[in-house]
Symmetry: D2
Subunit: 295 residues, 4 copies
C-alpha cells in the first residue's frame, strides 16, 4: 500500500499495481485491458466507481484510460499518427457527440523541459474560437468545436494559483468543457514519455510535475474537466524509496529507510537526459490527437 511517505504516482494504473502482488480485487475498482499487438498500443481502463475505491486508490471516482505506446519516443511518424488517432477516439468518447466550446489548458512551466508538455501541446493546437466569432460558425467544419487555449504559467511566475486564473477565464468565456494537459510524475522510470493517461476527473491536488495544490476539476471550475497527462518525471524520493524496497526485506527496515531519506529529495525530480527530443514528439502526438478530436 502507498504509505504516507513521499511515494507518488499520478497514474491510476500504477496506483493499482501497488496492490498487484496481493492479486486482490479492490471493491469499487474495475479494470479493463486491451492489447493491440499489431499496432503496439496497450490500453488499460481503470474505473473507480465508489468512494471506497477512491480512498484505497488515492484518486477520485472516475475513469482513467492509460495508453501505453512503447515506441512513442521514437521517430516513426506513422506510429505517432496511430497513437494520435487512438487518443482522439478516447477524447471523443469522453466528451460526447456534437461540437463544443472547449478551452484547452497547457499546465506546467515552459522553462523547465519535462514540465513543458502542456505549453508545448498548446503551441501546435488549431485554435478556432476567434475565427468563428469573427466570421461565423459557418467558417469552420460543421462538427468542429470552438477551440480556445491558455498557458497560465506556474505560481512562481504569476503569483497566482492556476485555479484562480482558470476560474476567471472560464467565467468570462464560458466554455462547455475544459481539457487540461499536464506533465505527470510516475513511479516507474519505464513509463516515462511512453504512456498517456486520459481521465474525466480533471487535475487533482498533488498531481502534475509541479504538484498542484488546488484541484482543477468540475467541482472547482463548474464545467467538466478532462485531463490528459504524460509522465515525464519520477519524484527523486520515490525512486530512492522504490529501489530500496526491492533490496530490503523486512518491513521494519523499510520504515527506517523511509525516515532517513532526505526531505531535500522532495524538491527534486528524475528525468531522462534526452527529455527534449522525446517530449517534442510526444507533445506533437497529443496536439494531433486533440486536433483530430476537436475538428
Amino acid at each position: 500500500m502507498l504509505g504516507d511517505f513521499n511515494v507518488r504516482t499520478d497514474l491510476a494504473l500504477e496506483a493499482k499495481e501497488s496492490f498487484a502482488e496481493d492479486d486482490v480485487e479492490i471493491r469499487g475498482v474495475r479494470i479493463e485491458e486491451a492489447a493491440d499487438e499489431e499496432r503496439e498500443i496497450y490500453t488499460t481502463i481503470v474505473r473507480i466507481e465508489t468512494e471506497n475505491g477512491a480512498r484505497i486508490m488515492g484518486k477520485p471516482v472516475g475513469t482513467y484510460i492509460t495508453l501505453e505506446a512503447p515506441n512513442m519516443s521514437s521517430e516513426d511518424e506513422d506510429y505517432h499518427r496511430e497513437v494520435s488517432e487512438e487518443l482522439a477516439k478516447h477524447i471523443r468518447a469522453l466528451t460526447g457527440a456534437g461540437e463544443k466550446n472547449v478551452l484547452v489548458v497547457g499546465l506546467g512551466n515552459r522553462e523547465v523541459t519535462p514540465d513543458a508538455l502542456g505549453p508545448d501541446v498548446i503551441s501546435n493546437l488549431h485554435i478556432t474560437r476567434h475565427i468563428a466569432k469573427e466570421y461565423g460558425k459557418a467558417s469552420l467544419d460543421e462538427k468542429a468545436s470552438l477551440v480556445s487555449a491558455v498557458v497560465p504559467g506556474v505560481m512562481a511566475q504569476t503569483g497566482m494559483e492556476t485555479l484562480e486564473i482558470l476560474r476567471g477565464i472560464v467565467r468570462e468565456t464560458a466554455p462547455q468543457l475544459v481539457i487540461a494537459i499536464d506533465a505527470l510524475a510516475a513511479r516507474s522510470t519505464r513509463r516515462l514519455n511512453r504512456t498517456i493517461q486520459i481521465t474525466d476527473t480533471g487535475i487533482n491536488p498533488g498531481s502534475g510535475v509541479g504538484n498542484h495544490r488546488d484541484g482543477i476539476n468540475a467541482d472547482t471550475l463548474g464545467v467538466p474537466v478532462i485531463a490528459i497527462g504524460v509522465p515525464t518525471v519520477v519524484d527523486a524520493a520515490t525512486i530512492v524509496n522504490d529501489t530500496m524496497e526491492q533490496l530490503v526485506d523486512t518491513k521494519e527496515k523499510r520504515q527506517t529507510i523511509r525516515e532517513k531519506i532526505s526531505p531535500h529529495l522532495n524538491t527534486m525530480f528524475v528525468t531522462p537526459k534526452d527529455i527534449d527530443e522525446t517530449l517534442k514528439r510526444v507533445s506533437y502526438t497529443i496536439s494531433e490527437g486533440l486536433n483530430l478530436a476537436l475538428s
Copy 2:
C-alpha cells in the same frame, strides 16, 4: 492632421508633433518638457484634459509621460539604472503612496521578437503575491506591493480577446491596480527602442504592435490601468506614407498617393535588424523600474 489613412502612432508625443508645424496650442492639451542633459534623459508630459483635446489628439483624456533615453539601446549599465530609477519615480507618482495589490500584464506575442516586450518584462519581475499569501505579508518589505503577473498571449494563440482573459483574472484575484506592458507602434523610426511612454489611460483600441481591438483600461477592467509602452515597430504603411509626405508637395497628390498604397502593407511592420539585442536591454530596464517602484 492625422488623416483617416493608416498613419498610426501609439505615442501621444508624436500625435502632438503632427500639429507642430502650425505651432498652435491645442485647447485641452498641456505640454511640459524637461531635459536632464547630464543624464541624457528627456521627459515630455502630455496632459489631455478635455474631450476636445482627446478628439483632436486621437487619444483618451489622461496623462502621457514620455521618457526619451537615446542611449537605452547601448550596453551602458549605469545609464540603464538611471532610466529604471526615472521610470520608477513616474510609476510611483501615478500609483500613489502605499503598498498595493498589483497585477502586471505582459501583452504581446512572445514568438515575434518586436512584440515580445511585455512577456520579456514579466520574466524579470519580482513576483511576490504568492509569498505573502503563503508566509504572510510580514515576509515582504513593509512597503512592498503584492505583485502578480500574467502573459495572456495573443488572439491567434488563445482564440480569446485579451480583455476576456484579463477581466476574468481581475475578477478572481481582485488587484487594486493593473500595469500593462506593451510594445507600441511609433511614427518615426528614430524613436524605436529609446522611448518609454507611461500613461494612466491604459491600453486603447488600435494600440500595441498587434493592434488591440478592445481597450484594457479602467472602464473595461474596473480598476485603474497604467500602461507602459516602448515603440518597437513602425507600421509599414506609415513609413511609406511619411516618406512620401516629405517628398510630395501638393495636398491633392498626397491624397492620390494614400489611395494607392497597398492595403497589404497594413499587415506588415518595420523593425530594426538588431531588435533582439536592443529589446533584451530595454525590457530589463523596464523590469528593474517596476521592481524598484513596487518593492
Copy 3:
C-alpha cells in the same frame, strides 16, 4: 534596372522581373517555367550561364529554382507534404545520386523571428552522422546520407564571421556537400513566406536577412554548397522606393526620391505580423523536404 540604390532582392526570379517590362531576353540567362495548376505549385528555373548574364542579374552563374506555393502559409498538411516532395525532388537532382556526407547549416539569428528560418529548419531535421559513426553505416537505410547540422549564430552573437566557423567545421568533419538554409530578402511583399529558392551557387555577399559579408559557397568552403532560402522580409528602403516608383512618373523625380530616402531605413526590415505562425509551417515543410531527400 537595379540601381546602385538599396533596392535589394535575394531572389533570382525577382532580379529577372525587373527587366520584364522590356520583355528582352538577357543573353546568358535562360528561363523555364512550369505551372502545376492542380497542386498549385509554380516552378521557375533561372539558369545564369555566362559571366555577362551574372553581371546583369547581379547573381553568380548557376541554377536558381524557385517554387511558388501560394498556400504555404496556410494550415493544409497535405499541401505542405506536396511542397516537401517537390523540394526533395529538386534537392536530389542538384545533389546527384547516391548517399552523401552532408552538413546542413541553419544560418540566421534564432532570436529574431523572421531570421530564424535556418535554426528552425535544423530543429526538425533527422541527424544521422553520429549514429552511423557509432553503430556503423548499416544502422541507416542503404541510400541514406550521413547528416550533420550546425546553427552557427550571427556575428553579434559570436564575434566571428559565419564563414570562419563553417570553414573550420568543414575542414574538420569533411562533408561532401553543404546545404545552407537562410531567410532571404525579397523585393515584393507578395512573395514573403510562399516562395522557396534552391540554388547551387551557395550564399553570396549581400544575401540573407542579416546580409552576409562573405560568401558561403564552393569557392570559400571547398565543397559544393546548395542554398535553400525563403524570403521572409523586404528591406525597408526597398519597400519605400518601390511604392514610390509606382507613383512617380519621371526618371528625374525618382532619382531625387532615392537620394532623399533615409539611410536609416537600411538597418530596418518589413515583415508580416503573423510571421511566427507562418514561419513555423514553412520551416517544417523545408525540414521534411530535406528529410525526404537525404534519407
Copy 4:
C-alpha cells in the same frame, strides 16, 4: 573510494571528500581552504600535482578552484555581484595578465533546462572580437580581450562531436585561450546551483551533464582551456547509491546493492524543480564574472 560503479562527480572537491573519512593526505594532492564569512563565499583550491594524485582523484593534473556561494540561488543582486567579482579574480589569475583573444564556448543543450547553463552564459556575454576587427582594437578599452563565443550544441542535434566543431573553429580563428562553460554533475544535491568550479584542465571525458566522450583541453585543442562549471544535476544512479550507502552497514551488502541498481538509471538525472529560476541567476552571475575578467 569511488568504485567502478556509476558514482560520478565532476567536482574535484567531492572527489577529495570521498576520502575524507580516512582523513588521509593523498600524495600529490594539495588542498587550500579559505572562508570569507562576511561575504559568505567559501573557496577551496585542490591542486593535483602528480600523476599519482590524478589517478587516485580520477581527474587530470591541474588546479581546481571551487567557490561555494550558498545564496547564489537567491535574488540578492549585491551578493551576485560579489560572486561575479570573486570569479573574475580567479579567471584573471588563471589567464595571466594582458589582453587576449579568447573564445568562450557554451557547452550543453539549450533545450534541456539544467544543461542550458553554457548557452545561457553566452547570451549575456559582451562579444567584442568583430568590433575590434571592424573598427580597430582602439575601439575597445585598452586592456580588453577580444571575445568571441560559440554554442556548439550537443551530438544529437549536430551529429558531430563537440570537439570536432571546436577544433575546426579554433584552427580557423586562432584564439589564444578557450574558456568552456558547462553544467556539471555533482554527487551531493546540496551543492547544486551554489558551487562554481574553475579549472585549468579543461573539460575531460565523462564530465558535464551530457557526459562528453572526448576531452576539450589543451591537448585536444592546442591552446589552453579553462573550464567553468556549475553542478546542476546529480546522476540518478549516484543518488540512489549514495542514499543506500548511508543506510547499509556492511561492505558486502553495498556491493549487492550496486549490482542491483538498474542500469536504466544511468540515462536519468536528478535536478531541483526550481532549476529555471536558479539557473537564470547563476548563469547571469557567471556572464558578469567573465565580462569583468575580459573587459
